[in-house]
């Protein structure tokens, strides 16, 4: 099988992703060259993918796909089916294994994209050698771009410096080094701490010794000074030693004190004399007035004042009580004027009180009864029994009865009267008619009718008359009562009169009641008068008995008992009060007399006279008190002044002391008393003496203090006894040593602080952590670098392996193919250098060219050659087809021809070539090229994919024939009208289910000349120009402003066409075909052919298909499957529930879509109508198609 051609003969694409609206089948593919042409969307790319996936199912694995093919290989007929990921192979009808094919990653080697060859990496004229050489090498390596892959994984030929990381690492390392150095230095410093502490101890010891030596030096100095001063002091007079230098002042002060003492003594004596005078002036006995006696007199006087105030208060109270007694007596009434009334009242006891109380109670009762009786009499007035009482009773009764008798109304007799009248009328009529009636009619009936009517009328009259008679009798009866009759005998008037009479009757009944009460009341009046008389008599008796009694007269208010008892109680209370006050006054008078007598007796002890009352006694006692105080003070002052220890004696003594002091002063300094001159002389020299003495004293203290600072014991003795000069030298030496103490101490403290801080710190740890992180990052970078370098080495090794092991064969093949493709014009030379540099030699001239100097076509041929050389080198099994899915339009003409020529050679060499294009001119080029190879050329087939896919439907409708396989140059219009030109061109009808791009340009271009020009350039379908870049399209349509207008118009018509086709499809659903039916899963293989045929019969109309299935057009097809199918169609769009648009609605839809274009003038209504006219199956507005 190796080297044998594998060629597709038939390709059935049922389903493949990207394939819309059903599958299609390609028949009779050529084992040589098959040119598949069709507009975009017709399935070219799908065909390419189908071929690829059939050979390498891994491509597109997992996709929903179903593809079948028939192919030839090694003289056998193979079939292959790919259903999803399941592939099945048959050889000559029997199941077989898949033939050995190249690996899937070589699949792309067989799918040549000429676009790629023409444009990628410099195959075009401006390419550079390096890029193209790389591309050649890539092709030779199976299409793998090793440099790109190497670049992608970051491979490197030489290591680079990760500067940032290095700097960070260095900085971190430097930081660690720095900190370590600092800490090392600190440690070295810290190691000196012991020595420093020793030096410090030495300095401290020197400082301590220095103090002692300094003190000794100072002691010696003081001692010298002291001795000098002492010598000078000894030269002063000895008296000065006893002086203090203030003796003169002291003498003056002593003499002033003598004078002061004399003056003081004199004043005291004067004071004593004055005291004696005041003593005498008090006029009291020698002992004065004892305070106890004065106190007694004062207490008595106070009591006397109190008694006098009580007398005045009792007297006032007595007056008030007498006044109240008088008023109470007056309230007792006529007895008040009796002279002895007070006596008699005072004599009243409880027994005497009882008749008074009883009399008052009875009088009160009597008065209450009299009051009630008077009220009754006032209410009864002069009531008498009325005379018209009975008549009123009769009148009321009559009127009530009259009202109780109902008033007769004629309408109450209406039915009876009417009935009577009817009967009479009937009877009358019967009688009238009877004369004319046949004799067989019965005779009594009319008479009975008349009789009944008369009876009804009679009863009515009698009943009313009887009622009226009863009322009249009652009127007469009322008149007999003699009362005022009602003004009218109507019910209203009678009721009013009845009300009046009933009110009057009620009054009369009350009068009768009062009249019956008057008799008993008179009797009661008389009884009360009797009781009043008896009571008055009783009162007289009581008055006569006890002299007082309550007044029973009605005029006395309030009630006699309360008033009398109250007056009697008040009198009694007042009377008792009077008695009590009078007794109190008597007692107070007695005490007053006693007190006055006692006070008088007291005053007489101090020679004072009698007093009348408290005020006078108080005044006398005040005066006595003042004199007693004066006497006491004078006595006390004299005692202070003149006593043995008195002030006068003391002053006398002080005076003598001061006088002695003056003498003593002179004697103290060794002078005779009064030697003031001697004293002055001494005092003149005393300051010098004193200063010298103080100096000696100070120096002595200083020396002693300094001596204290010296150590004790032999050391101190040694210091005292040593030569002072030697001491000074020692002091200077010690000062120098001790002077470093602070410095040493500071340094030690500083070091200890630094050590402590360092021991507590984490600076080095942190720096080490940073260094570790930087270290790790840099190591990672180093690993990356190592990875990159090894990757580079590996890629280079791969390149060299390929170059050494595989490329020679590929290049050999390439050279052969290239020579063949270029018809021997060129020869590829062995590449030189690394990377390899390719060159080609022009065989005719021997001129060697770099690849960049070759023409575009030649370069494409070289690329094709190397691609094919690789493919052929790799192919261990059959030769697989090449599929070229690209367009050569607008590309270099020479390059296109070179490609075609080369591919014809490939096919001729035994490899199937499938060429997919949308360009008619390419087809023409192919055909032209193939004609030149008729002798040795491969078999070629040209297939119109549009026809394959939509041909059946298009064929049903009248269409203009077109010969796609052998395109002739389009005929020129030559004056033909537009329609005639269409017929000449064979313009197909519009297939509305096809994309707008498949529509012939004739429908859109109404300028025959322009259309011809477009057709001549290979543009036939709208899709070919629809997506062209604006500038290119304008250039295609002509030159100048007209071209732009044509472009806008063409685009506008295209948009209109698209809108019309979309509108046309509404309500029609997607056409159902075999693929759809298979995909639905509702149609089994058993029925698929029949149902597919039926679908084709109904033009793929899902609705009609379902209806036909329901009608049983396919025998045995189950109804539930039909339902399932219907549901699937609905879901998949096969059944479009929207209503189909009629012609007018579609027209309107188109206008809406191109409103903007119409407004701009690019399109007019005629354009829309012209396109609309070409659409089939459009119902009119009235429902007629």
């Amino acid at each position: 099988m190796t080297g044998e051609r594998l060629a597709f003969e038939r390709l059935e694409i049922e389903r493949l992703p990207g394939l819309e609206r059903g599958g299609f089948t390609l028949e009779h593919l050529s084992p040589g060259i098959t040119i598949l042409h069709g507009p975009n969307g017709s399935g070219k790319s799908t065909t390419g993918r189908a071929v690829e996936q059939l050979l390498w199912p891994e491509q597109g694995s997992g996709e929903r796909r179903r593809v079948r093919a028939v192919l030839t290989l090694g003289g056998n007929r193979w079939e292959v089916e790919l259903d999803h990921d399941r592939e099945s192979w048959w050889r000559d009808g029997e199941s077989a294994d898949r033939p050995a094919l190249p690996p899937a990653h070589h699949a792309d080697r067989y799918g040549l994209a000429l676009h790629d060859l023409l444009t990628v990496d410099g195959a075009e004229g401006h390419a550079d050698d390096g890029g193209f050489a790389r591309r050649v090498a890539e092709e030779a390596a199976g299409g793998f771009d090793l440099p790109a892959a190497r670049e992608r994984i970051g491979a490197k030929e030489s290591p680079s410096r990760p500067n940032k990381l290095i700097q960070e690492h260095k900085a971190a390392a430097d930081e660690v080094v720095r900190i370590k150095a600092e800490q090392r230095n600190l440690q070295e410093e810290a190691a000196r701490l012991a020595a420093l502490r020793s030096e410090l101890d030495e300095a401290r010891a020197a400082a301590a010794r220095l103090a002692e030596v300094s003190a000794a030096v100072r002691w010696h100095e003081k001692r010298g000074e002291l001795e000098g001063e002492r010598g000078r002091l000894g030269r002063f007079p000895p008296e000065l030693e006893r002086m203090v230098g203030e003796e003169e002042g002291r003498l003056v002060r002593l003499e002033e004190e003598v004078v002061e003492a004399e003056r003081s003594l004199h004043a005291l004596k004067e004071k004593a004399a004055a005291a004696r005078r005041r003593l005498e002036g008090a006029g009291l006995p020698e002992d004065g007035a004892p305070p106890e006696a004065l106190g007694i007199l004062n207490r008595w006087t106070s009591r006397l004042q109190e008694v006098e105030r009580e007398v005045a208060r009792e007297r006032t109270e007595l007056d008030q009580a007498e006044e109240r007694r008088s008023r109470a007596r007056s309230a007792l009434g006529d007895v008040a004027d009796a002279d002895d009334i007070d006596t008699r009242l005072e004599a009243l006891g409880p027994v005497e009180w009882q008749p008074l109380v009883e009399l008052a109670r009875r009088a009160e009762t009597l008065r209450a009864k009299e009051g009630r009786l008077r009220e009754m009499e006032r209410w009864l007035g002069d009531a008498r029994v009325p005379e018209d009482l009975d008549r009123l009773r009769d009148g009321v009764r009559v009127l009530r009865r009259w009202l109780a008798t109902p008033a007769p109304a004629w309408r109450a007799y209406g039915p009876a009267v009417l009935g009577g009248l009817v009967w009479i009328a009937l009877g009358g009529a019967a009688v009238g008619g009877w004369l004319a009636l046949p004799p067989e009619w019965p005779e009594p009936l009319p008479w009975i009718s008349l009789g009944a009517g008369a009876l009804f009328l009679l009863w009515s009259w009698l009943d009313r008359h009887s009622i009226m008679a009863r009322r009249r009798a009652l009127v007469s009866e009322d008149r007999e009562t003699g009362l005022e009759p009602p003004p009218r005998w109507t019910e209203e008037a009678v009721r009013s009169t009845l009300g009046d009479r009933e009110l009057l009757l009620e009054r009369r009944r009350t009068e009768v009641e009062k009249a019956t009460l008057r008799g008993p009341l008179e009797a009661e009046r008389r009884e009360l008068e009797r009781k009043a008389s008896a009571l008055e008599a009783e009162r007289a008796r009581v008055t006569a008995g006890i002299g007082a009694a309550p007044v029973l007269d009605d005029d006395v208010e309030p009630a006699p008992l309360a008033a009398f008892a109250d007056a009697l109680a008040r009198w009694r209370e007042a009377h008792l009060e009077v008695g009590k006050r009078e007794a109190a006054l008597a007692s107070l008078g007695r005490e007053h007399e006693r007190l006055v007598a006692e006070i008088d007796a007291g005053l007489r002890m101090f020679g004072l006279g009698q007093v009348a009352g408290a005020d006078e006694a108080a005044s006398v006692l005040d005066d006595l008190g003042r004199r007693a105080e004066e006497h006491r003070r004078a006595q006390e002052e004299l005692a202070v002044l003149t006593g043995p220890e008195g002030e006068i004696a003391v002053a006398q003594q002080r005076l003598e002391q001061r006088r002695a002091g003056v003498g003593d002063l002179f004697r103290e300094v060794g002078l005779e008393p009064g030697d003031r001159a001697g004293l002055a002389r001494l005092l003149e020299r005393h300051p010098d003496y004193s200063a010298c003495s103080k100096r000696v004293e100070q120096l002595g203290w200083d020396a002693a203090r300094l001596a204290d600072e010296l150590p004790g014991g032999p050391e101190g003795e040694s210091l005292r006894s040593v030569d002072p000069e030697a001491l000074v030298a020692e002091r200077e030496r010690l000062a120098e040593v001790a002077g470093r103490k602070d410095e040493l101490n500071d340094r030690i403290v500083e070091l200890e602080t630094l050590v402590g801080k360092a021991e507590r710190g984490k600076e080095l740890q942190a720096a080490l952590a940073r260094l570790a992180a930087a270290d790790a990052a840099l190591r990672a970078a180093r690993e990356e670098e190592a990875d990159a370098l090894v990757a580079w080495e590996l890629a280079d090794w791969v390149r060299r392996s390929i170059a050494r092991r595989h490329q020679p064969a590929v290049l050999r093949g390439t050279r052969e193919l290239f020579r063949r493709f270029t018809r021997g014009h060129y020869e590829l030379l062995d590449p030189e250098g690394d990377p390899p540099e390719f060159r080609a030699r022009e065989t005719e001239t021997g001129f060697v060219r770099r690849l960049g100097e070759l023409s575009a076509g030649t370069r494409v041929q070289l690329l094709l050659a190397v691609r094919l050389a690789f493919v052929e080198h790799q192919e261990r099994g059959p030769r697989l087809p090449l599929v070229l899915d690209e367009t050569l339009a607008n590309s270099d003409e020479q390059a296109a021809e070179a490609v075609i020529d080369s591919l014809i050679q490939v096919a001729a060499a035994g490899r199937q070539v499938i060429y997919l294009t949308a360009q008619h001119d390419e087809v023409a080029k192919w055909q032209g090229a193939l004609e030149t190879h008729t002798a040795d050329g491969p078999k070629a087939v040209v297939i119109d994919l549009a026809k394959v896919r939509w041909g059946a439907e298009a064929g049903r409708r009248p269409r203009l024939a077109v010969e796609a396989t052998r395109p002739e140059p389009p005929p020129a219009p030559n004056g033909m009208d537009y329609q005639e030109y269409a017929e000449v061109l064979g313009v197909p009808g519009i297939e509305p289910r096809s994309p707008a791009g498949a529509v012939h340009l004739w429908y859109l271009v109404d300028d025959s000349e322009l259309l011809h020009r477009l057709l001549s350039q290979g543009f036939e379908r709208w899709g070919q120009v629809a997506e062209m870049e604006g500038r290119l399209l304008a250039a295609l349509l002509g030159e100048g402003d007209g071209a732009e207008a044509s472009r806008r118009r063409l685009l506008a018509r295209g948009r209109c066409l698209d809108a019309l086709l979309r509108g046309w499809r509404e309500g029609r659903g997607e056409p159902v075909d075999r693929g759809t039916l298979l995909e639905s899963g509702a149609v089994t293989q058993r029925f698929i052919d029949e149902v597919s045929a039926l679908a084709a019969e109904v033009d793929g109309d899902a609705e009609r298909l379902v209806a036909a299935l329901r009608e049983g057009k396919v025998k045995g097809f189950r109804s539930d499957k039909t339902g399932q199918l219907e549901e699937l169609f609905r879901d998949a769009g096969g059944l479009d529930p929207r209503p189909r648009l009629d012609r007018e609605a579609l027209r309107q839809r188109a206008f809406e879509a191109v409103a903007e274009e119409i407004a701009s003038g690019a399109l007019d209504a005629a354009d829309v109508d012209r396109l609309l006219a070409h659409l089939p199956d459009l119902p009119e507005r009235d429902g007629q198609s």
Partner: protein, 458 residues
């Protein structure tokens, strides 16, 4: 019968911060000093009779001051509690600890074996009876190439108290400059058990006669290789017997590695989601005694994934990313390092054998995955040599010479150079293969895009 509890610590490395921590970790709480002070608290709380330090108390990198503050503080607290402390020096603090002994006044620290001479300390009970003899030996200099036990010359005490050897050294690594030890040398009859220092990972090694040697490990792990539980150890002395050492977790930082299988993940987002999910599961499965404040994770991405080529970038972005943080007990878990060990989602066997770069690389990868001599698939020697040269060029590049002055810590997951280069080569091959396929896909997309300009799709 008298009983006493001994608290054993080793390799404190005071002054050295743990590495690869999240940037927002509080240095005070994650420092070795903080864990040392926790150990001190534990000794006081548990009424320890003696604290033993088996060397490397102070890290040489920070041997001047910063280690001494916390050490002195801890020793002071132990002294106040009446707990004596015995220590030997290790390679890190050979020249340091003696200074500390002089600095710390009042005999708070008993340094044994100064000058490389064995010395004995006897722990006595209140009655003056010996409870435990500690025979210690200190590094006299930084490098010691002889087995210190060879010079052990102390007589067996004439009482019944057990003898514990206190020593810093490296077990079963002949030629080590850190006092090489052998199990045989530790099994001398005079010593009942050994407390060793130098190895940071805690290890309890059984010796003949039911005796043991204990590497207590660093109480705070110092780098990502020091995974697992770290802390102090307690040993009970009861009469003449030494009890089995028990670990007391004290660490505030715990390092762990997790493996994240990204097989089948086709997008970066999916990969990221898988990492977050598997990280959560891995953390949930961990036993975390002592409730460390930080659980620092290193993830190794494995499996065959279509997003293999983009994982290096994702790994860089994820390292230290706070959004992936998890709450664990009272602490937090954060991913600080992500290593990509995935393979591209390509069937190498299918790709191998074709005469194109992908086929060549697939062949190479299959050879690298095998032992390199897998029949027809052999890793070309010239490629290995060239790759090693390239790697060496990177390592020797002056740009990285500054690393020599770095912390000098061991690389995480240090590998033999050949193995490392082999892995690097495999990584590069996988990435290049991915990139080749991607560039081809990109080109195909570009061509299709260009070819379909202006065209309807069929």
């Amino acid at each position: 019968m008298s009983r006493a509890l001994i608290l054993c610590l080793g390799d404190l490395h005071l002054g050295l911060p743990p590495s690869r921590l999240p940037s927002d970790a509080d240095p005070r709480r994650v420092s070795t000093a903080s864990v040392w002070l926790r150990a001190v608290d534990a000794a006081i709380d548990q009424g320890a009779a003696l604290v033993l330090l088996s060397g490397d108390v102070v890290d040489r990198e920070n041997r001047y001051f910063e280690a001494f503050g916390p050490l002195e503080e801890g020793l002071g607290r132990l002294a106040e509690a009446g707990i004596p402390v015995c220590a030997v020096t290790g390679n890190h603090d050979a020249e340091v600890l003696d200074r500390l002994r002089r600095v710390v006044a009042g005999g708070r620290l008993r340094l044994l074996g100064a000058g490389g001479r064995w010395e004995r300390f006897t722990l006595e009970d209140g009655a003056g009876r010996a409870l435990l003899h500690v025979d210690g030996w200190s590094f006299p200099v930084r490098d010691v190439r002889q087995d210190p036990t060879a010079s052990y010359d102390l007589p067996r005490p004439d009482d019944d108290a057990p003898v514990l050897g206190l020593l810093h050294g490296e077990l079963d690594r002949p030629g080590s400059t850190n006092a090489p030890l052998t199990k045989a040398s530790l099994e001398r009859p005079a010593v009942d058990a050994w407390l060793l220092g130098h190895i940071h990972k805690p290890q309890l090694i059984g010796l003949a006669g039911g005796r043991w040697a204990l590497y207590p490990g660093s109480p705070q792990p110092l780098d990502p290789t020091e995974t697992g539980v770290h802390g102090a150890w307690s040993v009970e002395v009861e009469g003449v017997a030494l009890g089995a050492p028990l670990q007391i977790p004290l660490q505030t930082v715990r390092y762990e590695r997790i493996e994240v299988d990204l097989t089948g993940r086709e997008t970066v987002d999916e990969a990221r989601g898988a990492i977050a999910l598997q990280m959560r599961d891995a953390v949930a499965a961990l036993d975390l005694p002592g409730d460390p404040e930080w659980l620092v994770l290193q993830a190794e991405l494995t499996g065959r994934t279509g997003v293999h080529g983009e994982l290096a970038g994702l790994a860089r972005r994820l390292e230290g990313e706070e959004t992936l943080e998890l709450a664990v007990g009272g602490g937090r878990a954060r991913l600080t390092e992500v290593r990509v060990r995935t393979r591209p989602a390509v069937d190498l066997a299918e790709r191998a054998g074709t005469d194109d770069p992908v086929g060549v690389l697939a062949d190479l990868l299959l050879a690298l995955e095998g032992d390199g001599t897998d029949g027809a698939r052999t890793v070309p020697k010239e490629l290995v040599r060239a790759a090693q040269d390239r790697e060496r060029a990177a390592y020797d590049h002056p740009a990285f010479s500054t690393l020599a002055s770095g912390t000098g810590r061991e690389e995480w997951a240090a590998e033999e150079p050949e193995e490392r280069n082999r892995r690097r080569l495999a990584r590069a091959a996988a990435s290049l293969l991915d990139a080749l396929l991607e560039t081809k896909e990109d080109r195909s997309d570009r061509v299709k895009g260009a070819g379909q300009t202006g065209a309807d799709r069929s």
